[in-house]
């Protein structure tokens, strides 16, 4: 049998299935075709989200302030940054020490220094992450889709054999795993648009090859005999049911993916050693490598995370300075290399790469200056130990993001935070609705895209509000 799945067919198939699925389920009922009233010219086909789960302090990463080295007995309130500032390729733009490589590719992108995270009272990382990824504050009375699911639903895959929404690096067996699951979902859009999960990129190939111990011949034979037996089964005479049809189609898609040459994109061992080594700073770095390989073969939305685990990675409730040295090592080389590689291969023009975190951190302020939340981290006013030296409190009023490619301005700095504590946004505040709409805009997805669920319109961003920030585009 010779299969030629092209993108149109896949799209057509998937959208009818989605419509059917939506219509079938009561929580999904009252479905109407989503509205695409205006045409936008897409500047990107692919999105790579580099997710710094746990709260990445802006003053210790992409928006450094006055550096105060550690000394015993220092005043905590004096500390704005625990790292030196280092120059980037852009004049008068500095990053925090340890991010030199990313600094060198900033001529290819924009640093946003004025992201303002949602206000949700008591800090729970997964809740703010839910908000970042769905644009809705939990809980919601209908299951809100992840941004990757919206994109998958609206655009389908770029290459029909590569799942449209791939999520690399997050395990769900850790603390708050259930809360993470709550937004790693296509929600009412239906499982079809849910994430294809690759918790460990070095084992990514396992997810897309025939089962362990099965060679390709056996795999092909099994599939062939499956089709033969299916055609002989008497229920086949009962006409074409939508269930049967969708089973047949999805099994065929799986079969095609698992034996397709594109599956090799998931195989990191195929990467030349020198390149592999640059990326190999750990799970996150390898995730970046896989994202690059998948992008080259045609991916739609890929999320790569440093992984969120309570009190680990960017979730620095203590030892902030020391731990950030390590976190930066994990991200600096791979991200810079990802940008360079994509640029070199010409993919960066059509690939929007975003680096973000659910909120930032500060040594003193919890929440935001005028709307303080309950203090969750005990920070002594006078620092005696290194473990208290770092940005340990959750700060929502000024956060940094990066954007590269996909029509985004190059060599640009967007927004500004104050140079004195509180280091909050003072220019061009930008919120999650605008970020999402900017991403959708780059992909050509209209602002008012929505479904009618239980007779209520459910937009990509709440009430269809939020506008793409055109200033970010070149």
């Amino acid at each position: 049998m010779n299969h030629h799945w092209n993108r149109r067919e896949f799209l057509k198939g998937s959208s009818t299935a989605a419509i059917a699925a939506l219509a079938a389920g009561a929580p999904l009922a009252g479905f109407l075709a989503s509205c695409n009233t205006s045409k936008i010219k897409a500047t990107a086909d692919t999105v790579i989200l580099l997710w710094m789960g746990g709260g990445m302090a802006h003053t210790d990463t992409f928006d450094p302030k006055k550096y105060t080295p550690f000394t015993k007995g220092m005043m905590a309130n004096d500390v704005l940054s625990t790292f030196k500032s280092v120059p980037t390729i852009l004049d008068d733009v500095y990053f925090s020490e340890g991010l030199e490589s990313i600094g060198k590719v900033m001529d290819k992108g924009t640093v946003i220094r004025s992201y303002v995270a949602g206000d949700m009272g008591h800090i729970l990382h997964s809740r703010h992450q839910y908000h970042w990824h769905t644009c809705y504050k939990p809980p919601q009375s209908v299951a809100a889709p992840h941004i990757g699911s919206w994109i998958s639903n609206q655009l389908g895959p770029v290459n029909s054999v590569i799942p449209a929404f791939i999520d690399i690096g997050q395990r769900f067996s850790l603390g708050e795993g259930e809360e993470l699951k709550a937004f790693h979902t296509a929600g009412f859009l239906g499982n079809e648009f849910g994430p294809f999960l690759i918790p460990d990129p070095s084992a990514g190939l396992e997810s897309v090859k025939p089962p362990v111990g099965m060679n390709i011949n056996r795999f092909e034979k099994r599939n062939q005999l499956y089709n033969e037996l299916m055609s002989k089964s008497p229920i086949g005479e009962m006409g074409s049911d939508y269930q049967k049809e969708s089973m047949r189609r999805s099994m065929e898609q799986a079969y095609i993916l698992l034996k397709s040459p594109e599956a090799a994109a998931f195989d990191l061992t195929k990467e030349p050693k020198e390149s592999y080594d640059i990326y190999n700073t750990g799970k996150f770095g390898l995730g970046c490598l896989m994202a690059r390989r998948l992008t080259e073969k045609g991916a739609r939305f890929i999320s790569v995370t440093t992984e969120y685990e309570p009190f680990k990675n960017w979730d620095t409730h203590d030892n902030g300075h020391t731990r950030l040295v390590d976190m930066k090592k994990q991200i600096d080389g791979p991200i810079a290399q990802l940008i360079k590689d994509l640029d070199r291969s010409g993919h960066l023009d059509r690939t929007l790469v975003i680096l973000a975190s659910e909120f930032s951190r500060d040594m003193m302020v919890e929440g935001r200056p005028e709307l303080k939340v309950q203090e969750q981290v005990n920070q002594p006013d006078i620092i005696q130990e290194l473990k208290n030296y770092g940005m340990h409190r959750h700060f929502t009023d000024g956060c940094s993001m990066l954007m590269f490619g996909g029509g985004i301005k190059k060599g640009n700095v967007y927004g500004k935070t104050a140079d004195e504590r509180p280091c909050k946004t003072v220019d061009k505040p930008i919120r999650i609705e605008q970020i999402h709409q900017t991403i959708y805009h780059a992909l050509g997805i209209p602002q008012d895209t929505h479904y009618v669920i239980e007779k209520r319109p459910f937009y990509t961003t709440p009430d269809g509000l939020g506008k793409a920030e055109m200033d970010l585009f070149s």
Binding site: A17, A20, A21, A23, A24, G25, A26, P27, L28, A29, G30, H122, L124, P138, P139, Q140, S141, A143, P163, G175, E178, K181, A182, G190, N191, E192, G194, L197, V208, P210, G213, R218, R222, L225, Y226, L229, K232, P234, I235, M238, G239, S240, D241, Y242, Q243, K244, S246, M247, R248, S250, M251, Q253, A254, Y255, L258, D448, E454, K455, R456, G464
Partner: protein, 832 residues
């Protein structure tokens, strides 16, 4: 040119055509006279042959349509070279097309005498048809003439006629199709068609009033007004309603709409074109004044209704209390059961029979024993019958053996409870893991739920204990509390109001818990009054998450359901709510559960979606009687299931749908159970019993008594384990929100999980090793797997294929492959 034409036209043939056209017209007139002399509307007097030929018209017309269009298409390829080698072909095709058109026209005229067609459209069709036949014939004669006499100057005239006839035949075909299938047969399927979403369709048919200059009757005025308000509600209230008053204009109230907005009056009764409202909705959406400024332009039909309404003086009767939204009656209703026949005695069947008679549906024969046993086992206990059970059952000669079997299945307490647990866990969003547990903001009710199902707790008591709970059952109304500040419409009291009304009353309060609903008559205060029952104090009303400073008391959604003491403590209010809710007078409550159970068994509710109980059932009598009967029968769920499954209605052959969206269609017609796909739990449990356990004892998150003894089974029911990627991919929801139906479509992620997922493959491997030991030979393995999984023997052709997989000495790899194939067959996974 004129001169040339006159002199050179082929007279003989022209005369022929003209005379045949005259003949057709004569035929038409004489037939008219014939029909008129008979009873109107009957054509029975017509000679049988004419009737026969007439009825061939819809078939015959396809010839001229195809031929004339084809000729025209071919003609286009000859633009460069008239004498192309296509020419002889075109000539033959055109000749055939012209003759076919003439014949079809005659047949059509015969058919029209049978009557029954919409007159205006039929006339249009008839005359386009006749004209096309004539023009097509003339075109042919011209062509013949051109070729014979080499009259090149006539080519463009000939071509014009040919193309006109092609257009004509297409138009006639379209009108004809509209006659047969209805005007909007094709266009109604388009998403932008008004009919695609019939929600704004009202009772008022504007076409019947179009040429009527008389004043509307009061009833007509009310209907028209309701229609207009429905249009305004769906398209305009969002910005011009109580929540937002853009341009200082509100369209939701009589006084407000006539007052107008910041630019003055928008409706001038009697003068549509002078009314700004009409002007702006009629503008193209690109115009800056066009309304709605956000969202879709109104359909032409809606615009026409607004225009007509203004023209008629914009009636908005004071007494117009009638809601624009359907609200199902609340009270129970107990219609008198139709008389039993010699064939039917089950009350369900008597109602179905009434429905079948009305809809001219014949009773098909009920399914055979094998199909019945498989279906009812999966539906009642979520498991497949073993080959031994099947054999015993088919051999059983007792006439009431199906009823006996149903009793036996219902009495398998743990099997029954484990199966229905999943359905109730979805509806009550009860799970072992999930959000909320991390901070103690959620409570598991599995122990209470399992035991309630096991003891067949009567439904009224069941709901009372959920609404006015003990610690063991409080999880449902306590909801999920996330740490931090939540939207006012998602505070736990409001979650309780939403979920209680959705699950027990089939009523959606989600809109209404944020603002007055646009899609029903429920108001924000209704939602808060209901939520207040679940609260110690009166909640401050928030509109769209903004505090209003207003408060309301505690109230039932329907005052007929009794009072709540607003000043009482929460537990007192909950007790009152519980009693009010389950009272026999709350017909909606009993209809809701009956509809849910019906949907579980029959693949579709009497009402769909099952959470929208204001929609119309396909048989109101059946629903009402069953609900009343259920309530009188102590709200015994097992008895309800017994009643339904012992009916012939349940035992009809299953029906497959090509398109899942048809399930919720309000035009649905019942013909038998809709085929379902096994749920995640059914699939896992069945695979576990026939091949090897997917979930084992150590994974149990809840331990019913039977899993505690030394004789406990090694495998675990999927409903008793924590959610996991395997079950999620097969459709088990995460239960963050209540859900009342599962996705039954397959998708790529699911297929991948089943193709190379660890859990599934490990199970297959384990099974293959065991089977190889136990059964050794290929023949035995094929026989066993077919009998256990599909309840039958392999047909010879299947046996050959299976043998190809296994060979004579089967390896475990080969056995794995066979298992995998069988488990993934639609025949295995579909409940038919």
């Amino acid at each position: 040119m004129k001169q040339t034409l006159k002199n050179s036209f082929p007279r003989k043939k022209l005369v022929l055509v003209i005379s045949s056209m005259i003949l057709i017209c004569l035929l038409q007139i004489s037939l008219n006279g014939y029909a008129a002399s008979n009873e109107p509307g009957t054509a029975n007097g017509l000679f049988w042959l004419w009737r026969f030929l007439g009825r061939l018209h819809p078939v015959a017309v396809h010839f001229p349509v195809a031929l004339l269009l084809f000729a025209a298409i071919l003609e286009m390829f000859t633009f460069k070279n008239f004498n192309s080698n296509l020419r002889p072909g075109i000539k033959i095709i055109l000749a055939a097309g012209a003759i076919a058109a003439l014949l079809s026209t005659i047949m059509g005229l015969l058919l029209s005498k049978e009557g029954g067609y919409e007159k205006e459209l039929a006339n249009l069709h008839q005359w386009t048809g006749i004209a096309t036949a004539a023009i097509g014939s003339i075109a042919f004669i011209l062509l013949h003439y051109i070729l014979k006499q080499d009259k090149k100057n006539l080519i463009s005239f000939y071509r014009s006629l040919l193309f006109i006839s092609a257009i004509g035949v297409a138009a006639a075909g379209h009108f004809g199709a509209s006659l047969t299938h209805g005007k909007d047969y094709i266009s109604a399927t388009l998403p932008w068609s008004k009919d695609y979403d019939a929600s704004t369709k009202g009772n008022f048919d504007i076409s019947t009033f179009k040429n009527d200059t008389a004043k509307l009757t009061k009833q007509q005025a009310i209907e028209l007004n309701v229609q207009v308000r429905a249009i305004l509600a769906h398209n305009c209230y969002k910005c011009h309603g109580p929540e937002k008053i853009k341009g200082d204009l509100r369209l939701d109230r009589r006084d407000m709409i006539f007052k107008g907005g910041e630019n003055g009056a928008v409706v001038i009764p009697g003068n549509p074109t002078g009314s700004d409202l009409f002007r702006r909705i009629s503008l193209p959406s690109s115009h800056k004044d066009a309304m709605p400024s956000k969202g879709k332009k109104l359909s032409d039909g809606d615009i026409a209704i607004i225009q007509f309404w203004i023209q008629k003086g914009a009636p908005w009767p004071d007494s117009s209390e009638k809601s624009i939204f359907r609200l199902a009656p609340l009270a129970p209703r107990d219609p008198a059961l139709p008389v039993a026949t010699d064939k039917l005695s089950n009350p369900i069947d008597l109602w179905t029979n009434q429905y079948f008679v009305k809809n001219k549906i014949n009773w098909p024969a009920v399914i055979d024993d094998k199909t019945f046993l498989r279906r009812v086992s999966l539906d009642l206990i979520g498991l497949l019958p073993s080959p031994e059970e099947l054999e015993k059952f088919t051999a059983d000669k007792r006439t009431n053996k199906r009823a006996i079997l149903i009793r036996q299945l219902l009495n398998r307490q743990d099997d029954y409870s484990s199966h229905w647990l999943s359905i109730w866990n979805d509806a009550l969003r009860n799970d072992y893991t999930g959000t909320g547990y991390i901070t103690g903001g959620r409570f598991n009710i599995t122990d209470w739920l399992y035991k309630s199902l096991r003891s067949n707790k009567h439904y009224d008591q069941f709901v009372k204990e959920l609404i006015n709970p003990t610690d063991a059952s409080k999880g449902f109304i306590e909801g999920i509390k996330w740490r931090g500040v939540v939207n006012a419409s998602q505070r736990t009291e409001m979650q309780a109001a939403q979920n209680v009304s959705q699950i027990f009353l089939g009523l959606n309060l989600k809109c209404t818990s944020c603002h007055n609903s646009f899609i029903s008559d429920w108001k924000l205060t209704d939602a808060y009054a209901f939520a207040n029952i679940f609260s110690d104090t009166s909640l401050e009303i928030n509109r769209c998450d903004k505090p209003t400073g207003k408060f309301t008391g505690a109230r039932m959604l329907w005052k007929e359901l009794g009072a709540i003491d607003s000043s009482a403590k929460r537990n007192v209010k909950l007790a009152q709510l519980a009693t009010n809710m389950v009272q026999p007078n709350n017909g909606r409550f009993y209809r809701t559960i009956v509809n849910r159970i019906w949907a579980q068994l029959m693949g579709r509710g009497l009402i769909e979606p099952v959470d929208v109980m204001d929609n119309e059932p396909w048989s109101q009598d059946l629903l009402d009687w069953t609900a009343s009967n259920f309530q009188k029968n102590n709200s015994d769920i097992k008895e309800l299931i017994y009643l339904l499954t012992t009916s012939n209605t349940y035992q009809l052959p299953s029906v497959g749908l090509k398109d899942a969206s048809k399930i919720v269609s309000q035009q649905f017609q019942f013909n038998g159970m809709l085929r379902k796909r096994m749920s995640a739990e059914q699939f896992s449990d069945v695979a576990s019993t026939i091949i090897a356990p997917i979930f084992v004892d150590s994974m149990l998150m809840y331990r019913p008594e039977y899993t505690k003894g030394p004789l406990r089974p090694i495998w675990s029911r999927a409903s008793l384990v924590a959610n996991n990627p395997f079950l999620i991919s097969l459709g088990r929801p995460t239960r963050e929100t209540v859900s009342t139906s599962r996705e039954s479509q397959s998708n790529l992620l699911q297929a991948l999980e089943l193709t190379n997922g660890d859990r599934f493959n490990a199970m297959i491997k384990k099974g293959a090793i065991a089977w190889k030991k136990q059964y050794v030979s290929s023949d035995k393995i094929i026989k066993e797997i077919y009998s256990r999984a599909l309840g039958r023997e392999a047909q010879p052709s299947e046996y050959t294929i299976a043998k190809k997989i296994l060979g004579t000495e089967p390896s475990t790899d080969a056995i794995e492959d066979l298992f995998w194939i069988i488990l993934l067959l639609p025949e295995f996974q579909i409940i038919y």
